[in-house]
């Protein structure tokens, strides 16, 4: 997402398409297949979804839906359950995103050192990522089980009254977040490891000759060189965490109370349990705008800065 050429980007929009230009033709040719699939199966439904959000949508007979304007959005603003879901989601994001990025980076940098058993470590760290969300949730429900789970058994040696994890207001969300870290940190790890390995070794040699400390080398070489990958991982992680659903749905069903019910889980319930697709679509749109806004902010504050330096 570099902005190599500001003026070009501005002109870009108004420049007419000149099909006699071979590069233009090639560009369009290479871009079109994906764009066709993309437009039909992502973009078009997106607009259709907005249309639906303006209706009291009747799923069984769409043509009988009643147009209600922005009522779904008004309802959302006044819906305490929605806001509780919003808070729960933000909490999850705060718990997971920094952890997943920093931990993934730490593992990647660690494995990149000349350690024995690299291949083994790489496999172990990445392996949970290939599990399905239901399997991950089941595994961790067993681990956290208050009476027959191993975690509380060992904790009971240290604590008189170990937490009831998924049943506790205080611990349910952190417990889900912890399981999520175990599950998905492997993705960040792999991406960041690949990025670290593509940093030219000569940069470090030069730094060593200059007598730079390893902290300096990390700060001045590793971080800037890995910036695009870290950016990518952070943005992707943010978007995924904001859309968390499966883990909470299976592990806590949003409980205790509604304390772990996230936005997508609420959206799911509104759509499939209450059959209120118009309202669900409105919630989806709200989420979409939040994600776009935060990503844009991210791009302007971090991305820009990175390109400038």
């Amino acid at each position: 997402m570099a902005t190599e050429d500001e003026s070009a980007s501005r002109l870009d929009a108004v420049r007419s398409i000149d099909l006699s230009d071979t590069e233009t033709r090639a560009g369009l040719l290479f871009a079109t297949p994906y764009l066709v699939v993309f437009s039909i199966f992502l973009l078009y439904p997106l607009f259709l979804g907005f249309y639906m959000s303006l209706f009291d949508w009747n799923v069984f007979a769409p043509s009988q839906s009643e147009f209600i304007g922005l009522e779904n959005y008004v309802r959302m603003m006044n819906d305490p359950v929605f806001w509780s879901a919003f808070r729960a989601t933000v909490y999850f994001v705060v718990l997971t995103v920094p952890t997943l990025v920093v931990f993934g980076l730490a593992l990647a940098l660690g494995v990149n050192r000349n350690v024995k058993g690299k291949r083994f470590l790489r496999t172990v760290y990445f392996s949970p990522y290939v599990l399905t969300v239901s399997v991950v949730s089941l595994i961790w429900m067993e681990m956290y089980a208050s009476d027959y789970g191993p975690i509380n058994y060992y904790l009971s040696y240290i604590l008189a009254d170990p937490p009831t994890w998924l049943n506790s207001f205080t611990w349910a969300m952190p417990a889900v977040a912890f399981a999520t870290v175990w599950w998905t940190v492997g993705f960040n790890f792999i991406i960041l490891l690949a990025a670290r390995q593509s940093v030219p070794e000569r940069l470090y040699e030069a730094a060593r000759i200059d007598g730079a400390s390893s902290w300096r080398a990390f700060k001045d070489i590793t971080l800037p060189q890995m910036r695009p990958a870290i950016m990518f991982v952070s943005v992707v992680q943010f978007i995924w965490s904001f859309q968390v659903f499966g883990q909470v749905f299976v592990m806590t069903d949003g409980g205790p109370g509604n304390s772990t019910q996230t936005i997508i889980m609420y959206l799911f319930r509104v759509a499939f349990r209450q059959q209120d697709f118009g309202y669900a679509a409105a919630i989806g749109y709200f989420l979409f705008f939040v994600l776009v806004a935060v990503s844009l902010a991210n791009y302007y504050f971090i991305g820009r800065d990175g390109d400038a330096s």
């Binding site: 069984f60 239901s134 067993e142 208050s146 659903f245 069903d253 409980g255 205790p256 109370g257």
Partner: protein, 430 residues
């Protein structure tokens, strides 16, 4: 994993979920990938949500049907319990519903517009084939949309070995609150077991709570089901009972974790719990002695009620289906619900078919003495409470489940709990 395999209709797992992004997409489209959906006109696609003992029983019944019929074959497709209604719903909106599907009777109302009315499809005498009270559960707006398979009420299950260990008579389980109190106190005092857990799954509090509400003389919802009708002292007393169990009485620890009581009872660590007919199938393999009693143990009970629900078979509407195919589906539904002996003997449920229920085969089977006669008596005495059918039962089920779990785990006090439940239900239903 193990729990998943053991899952049955009562303790269904939120398992086999897909990732957020695509759950619905796949659930909706997956039906199409299931292979042959022959349009031959005589294959009836039948969706069930049964696993474990229930699954085995249904498999046996369907196999028998297929053996006895050449022109119609039922192809049984099992959906995961927790996603069952979501999958059904998606398949209906996508225009590709199964020909025949299991519904809980109190979920029928939500789907009633999308089901084939059966009044013209079955003989007028069909109703006589079923126990009247169960047959009535399948009627909506004067029209029958499903044929009942069973009823499955709750009872009190107790561990006889623990009773003995506590110095209690293993053959006289508690029949009222005072006896429950005595038994549970003795167990707490004389053994290191948990004495009583009224909701072993930690997430279906609504079931027995609503039945006990009737027992203590409170309504649950108002007449047209637009609001809660239990904002009263009787209900508060009942909520306090749940709270006392894990606090003042000390019969169990303050923990409403998923499935906790179920595991404890199965492991022989819990003396008494309240569970449904299907628990018979689970406990058959237990290495201790257990017994069953009517669960009329709520404090302040003036009447005796227990929770029940009922499985029924319905034919979802599908414009693309031929009349012949619909007839085949209805015929299969009649046959399956009226030849349901295994549904009792293997799965432990109380069949809705009068003939099956009164047959020697069922009454001579082990299940009859173990559990079914107790359930039969309660049904016969009209002591079953079905949860009300609303457009979306989750409107009242979820507030109660979530709130009572907090009460039981001592994270919410009873008065606040009552307020929360009442206002949430009023909001949702209005």
């Amino acid at each position: 994993m193990v729990r998943k395999l053991q899952s049955n209709q009562g303790s269904g797992r939120r398992t086999f979920l897909k990732t957020a992004a695509t759950t619905g997409v796949v659930a909706g489209f997956a039906g199409c990938l299931g292979g042959d959906q022959g349009d031959s006109g005589n294959e009836v696609e039948f969706w069930t949500l049964f696993a474990g003992g229930d699954g085995d029983a249904m498999e046996a019944i369907v196999e028998k049907f297929n053996d006895e019929h050449d022109d119609i074959q039922v192809s049984r497709e099992r959906q995961p319990f927790d996603e069952y209604y979501d999958s059904l719903f998606t398949s209906m909106t996508g225009g590709t519903p199964p020909d025949l599907a299991i519904f809980h009777t109190n979920e029928l109302r939500r789907f009633v517009d999308t089901l084939t009315p059966l009044d013209d499809q079955v003989e007028s005498g069909t109703k006589n084939a079923y126990v009247e009270s169960i047959w009535n559960e399948t009627e909506f707006g004067g029209s029958h949309v499903a044929l009942p398979l069973d009823t499955h009420p709750n009872a009190l299950y107790y561990n006889k070995d623990i009773f003995e260990e506590a110095g209690l008579d293993p053959e006289s389980p508690p029949t009222n609150f005072e006896e429950l109190q005595h038994a549970a106190d003795e167990i707490s005092a004389n053994t290191d077991k948990q004495a009583f857990n009224p909701e072993p799954y930690g997430r279906f509090y609504t079931r027995q709570f609503v039945a006990w509400l009737s027992s203590v003389g409170s309504e649950f919802l108002n007449e047209d089901a637009t609001g809660a009708a239990f904002d009263n002292d009787e209900a508060l007393g009942l909520i306090e009972f749940y709270s006392d169990i894990t606090d003042e009485f000390g019969w169990d620890s303050a923990d409403a974790s998923d499935d906790r009581g179920n595991r404890a009872f199965r492991a022989g660590d819990l003396a008494m719990t309240i569970d449904g007919t299907w628990f018979y199938g689970v406990l058959r393999e237990a290495d201790y002695d257990w017994g069953i009693a009517k669960p009329f143990v709520a404090p302040g009970a003036t009447e005796q009620y227990t929770w029940a629900n009922s499985h029924a078979l319905a034919v979802p509407k599908n414009d693309d289906r031929s009349d012949e195919q619909t007839e085949a589906a209805v015929y299969a539904a009649e046959w399956l619900t009226q030849n349901s002996t295994e549904w009792g003997t293997t799965a432990g449920h109380m069949p809705a078919s009068s003939d099956v229920l009164n047959s020697g085969t069922l009454q001579d089977a082990d299940v009859w003495d173990a559990t079914l006669n107790t359930f039969f008596e309660m049904a016969d005495n009209d002591q079953l409470v079905y949860l009300p059918s609303t457009d979306n039962n989750e409107d009242y089920v979820r507030p109660i489940n979530q709130t009572m779990a907090q009460v039981y785990s001592q994270q919410l006090d009873p008065e606040d709990a009552l307020d929360e439940m009442v206002s949430a239900i009023n909001d949702n239903l209005s």
